[in-house]
């Protein structure tokens, strides 16, 4: 306690000016915090969120089909738990140290508190609360299992494990969309956080390979490929996303033969993908530029073909360098999905606007927007945390230190 006091004093009140700045900042933070709490606990009427929580989560997805989304959420929880456990455990089975590093313990406790508190605060029914508890328990259980037994799995299985994510994605599509015996749910009934995450994840998954190809095309020795890539990247980067979205809604119908034009939801997802790919290509290009020329020469001098050299030597290094800026792109892509409300999709912001237009909740804008901000913040924070874990995982120096 004594050392803590001394450290605080050293860091916050080292000199008179430091002390003054500290006091002023403390005052501002205190006033802001008090104001916020007064609003959040006093004036704000959270009934608007409580009453519309299903709408915010799923849009107008038919009630009798919602079990499919619960199943999907449970599967996602399992996948998240496994990914978390695998990323945070040491790759070598003989060096598995702490099963739960300090940050992971904090995250697990926060998650458990959230799962206990949030459904209660939202006034959800007992059955729904129970489901959330189950899903959280599932996540933590698989986090533990993956951390405990993951490193000991055969290497081949470990390498194949990431392939489960695209498979899960396809399965999720079937669950949401219907088909294979499930009754179809029209995409006009999708909405809320589910639609936001669907659009963002679709774009993130597909813009990644596209962006890498564009970046490689931009460095190609074939003039047509090079100029084609440059033209595409510069055109997309020169146009605001919103104009491209309107363009996509209006033009795809004309460009593609009758009946081929995808539904609105998918048109928007493709525009997002093509848009993000151009930005991602620039991030990958900077990563490629950071790999010394000698790497390619060494690979080639060992007899590797150009594709082999890129796949096993150049790209792994380039993508590791580009990872932070790529994740930055993904995060802004997630936030850009709010623009979809302007072309009439009922994603989070679109749903929020219909709720606020309801006379019963007139004037409750602040509560709704605040909820939206928190939801987006949670998603972006998860992306950021995942990327940092991945970054550490891919950095040989950091691995060596922790070993």
């Amino acid at each position: 306690m004594d050392t803590l006091l001394r450290r605080l004093r050293h860091e916050l009140f080292a000199s008179k000016v430091d002390g003054l700045i500290t006091l002023v900042l403390l005052g501002l933070i205190g006033a802001g915090g008090a104001g916020f709490l007064r609003w959040a606990l006093g004036q704000a009427q959270w009934a608007v969120v409580r009453a519309n929580s299903t709408l915010f989560a799923l849009g107008r997805y038919p009630i009798e089909q919602q079990w499919r989304l619960w199943l999907l959420t449970a599967l996602l929880a399992v996948a998240t738990g496994i990914t978390w456990g695998m990323l945070r455990s040491h790759p070598r089975p003989d060096r598995v140290g702490v099963l739960w590093p300090r940050n992971d313990r904090i995250a697990a406790v926060l998650l458990a508190l959230l799962a206990l508190g949030l459904p209660l605060a939202l006034g959800l029914s007992g059955a729904v609360q129970l489901r959330w508890w189950g899903i959280t328990a599932l996540l933590l259980l698989w986090r533990w299992l993956a951390g405990r037994f993951g490193p000991g799995l055969p290497p081949l299985l470990k390498r194949l494990l990431p392939l489960g994510l695209p498979l899960l994605y396809l399965l999720g599509m079937v669950l949401i969309h219907g088909g294979l015996g499930l009754s179809p749910v029209s995409s006009s009934e999708w909405g809320g956080l589910m639609l936001t995450l669907l659009e963002a994840s679709f774009a993130i998954l597909l813009c990644f390979p596209l962006g890498v190809l564009l970046a490689l095309g931009r460095r190609s020795e074939l003039p047509l490929l090079r100029w084609g890539s440059v033209l595409y990247i510069e055109f997309i980067r020169g146009a605001p996303l919103i104009t491209l979205l309107f363009l996509g809604q209006n033009m795809l119908g004309f460009l593609l033969p009758g009946g081929m034009a995808p539904e609105r939801v998918w048109r928007a997802a493709w525009v997002l993908t093509l848009f993000a790919a151009a930005y991602l290509a620039e991030a990958v290009r900077s990563g490629l530029a950071a790999v010394p020329r000698g790497q390619l020469e060494a690979a080639r001098s060992l007899g590797m073909s150009l594709p082999q050299a890129f796949a096993s030597v150049v790209l792994p290094q380039a993508l590791r360098v580009a990872l932070p800026s790529m994740v930055g792109q993904f995060i802004s892509l997630l936030q850009d999905t709010t623009l979809l409300s302007l072309i009439g999709l009922m994603e989070l912001l679109g749903t929020a606007r219909t709720v606020m237009a309801n006379p019963a909740f007139l004037g409750r804008n602040a509560e709704v927007y605040f909820t939206l901000a928190v939801l987006f913040w949670c998603c972006c924070a998860a992306l950021g945390l995942g990327s940092r874990a991945l970054e550490r995982r891919l950095d040989p120096a950091a691995l060596a230190r922790s070993g």
């Binding site: 000698g294 060494a298 001098s301 007899g303 590797m304 096993s312 030597v313 290094q317």
Partner: protein, 259 residues
């Protein structure tokens, strides 16, 4: 300018004795710089040919044409019976047989030492991983760093990294090894350990072409020494003659500067 007699101790095995034959190689860089001006060189099986010369004389450019890391505009190069053309399959075939050790090591930083060695034999020669691993460990023992096999290149000293680079080239079982100033980027106290490995390779009659400034190394193991200046091969001689009684005025001036 004809090569003087070599004292190659290599066992002769008939017609395949000529490992590298370069005739009248000329290279211009895209900016118009005339880097190689009609260079000739032949390397016999088992020979150690050391190329010396002032910086900017085209030594590195010349040996980099042998495995097509640099292209050339005129002349011909034949490596182990395969003519170097623009045919990509031929280039890949030559690169499989020609190992190269770089000044800057160029190890793959994202792979462990062991994986640096195993990558190409598994990918290119399609050999089973277990077998390659065993061979790689033997090579690492031979260059004296087997205990570092699971470390990453960034954790090793410069001398250790260069020894790994030599082992990596050897793991492809090349017929010729090219060294492009292998000790120039090393701290002085690490030069010895790398040269020792190269000496042991020379003792096994592995065909080597070495660009270096190490006079002692050249004297000890070179079958022939080549002096290059301003993009030309000025003199080819056995080391004794080259270092004590060179025939060219240009060689004398160069030796005055480095000895």
């Amino acid at each position: 300018m004809s090569p003087t007699s070599s004292r190659s101790p290599a066992p002769t095995t008939g017609s395949g004795d000529l490992m590298i034959e370069a005739r009248g190689v000329e290279k211009w860089y895209p900016n118009g710089f005339h880097a190689l001006r009609g260079c000739d060189l032949t390397v016999q099986r088992g020979e150690v040919v050391v190329i010396m010369g002032p910086s900017g004389s085209g030594k590195s450019t010349f040996i980099r044409t042998f495995n097509a890391l640099e292209d050339f505009q005129k002349g011909s190069i034949t490596v182990d019976g395969i003519a170097l053309t623009n045919d990509l399959r031929q280039i890949d075939a030559i690169r499989r047989e020609v190992g190269m050790v770089f000044q800057q090591f160029n190890l793959f930083p994202h792979l462990t030492v062991l994986d640096n060695l195993c990558l190409a034999p598994v990918l290119v020669r399609k050999r089973p991983k277990a077998e390659v691993k065993e061979q790689a460990m033997a090579l690492l023992r031979r260059v004296g760093i087997a205990e570092q096999a699971s470390k990453f290149p960034g954790q090793l000293s410069g001398g250790q990294q260069q020894r790994v680079a030599i082992a990596r080239a050897l793991c492809m079982e090349p017929r010729i090894l090219l060294f492009d100033e292998p000790t120039s980027a090393l701290d002085p106290e690490m030069v010895r350990e790398v040269l020792d490995v190269m000496l042991s390779l020379a003792a096994e009659h592995i065909t080597m072409v070495v660009v270096t400034h190490e006079v002692k190394f050249a004297r000890q193991v070179a079958s022939r020494v080549v002096l290059m200046a301003e993009g030309e091969v000025v003199e080819v001689a056995d080391p004794e003659t080259f270092f004590t009684n060179p025939s060219q005025e240009r060689s004398r001036r160069f030796l005055d500067q480095i000895l």
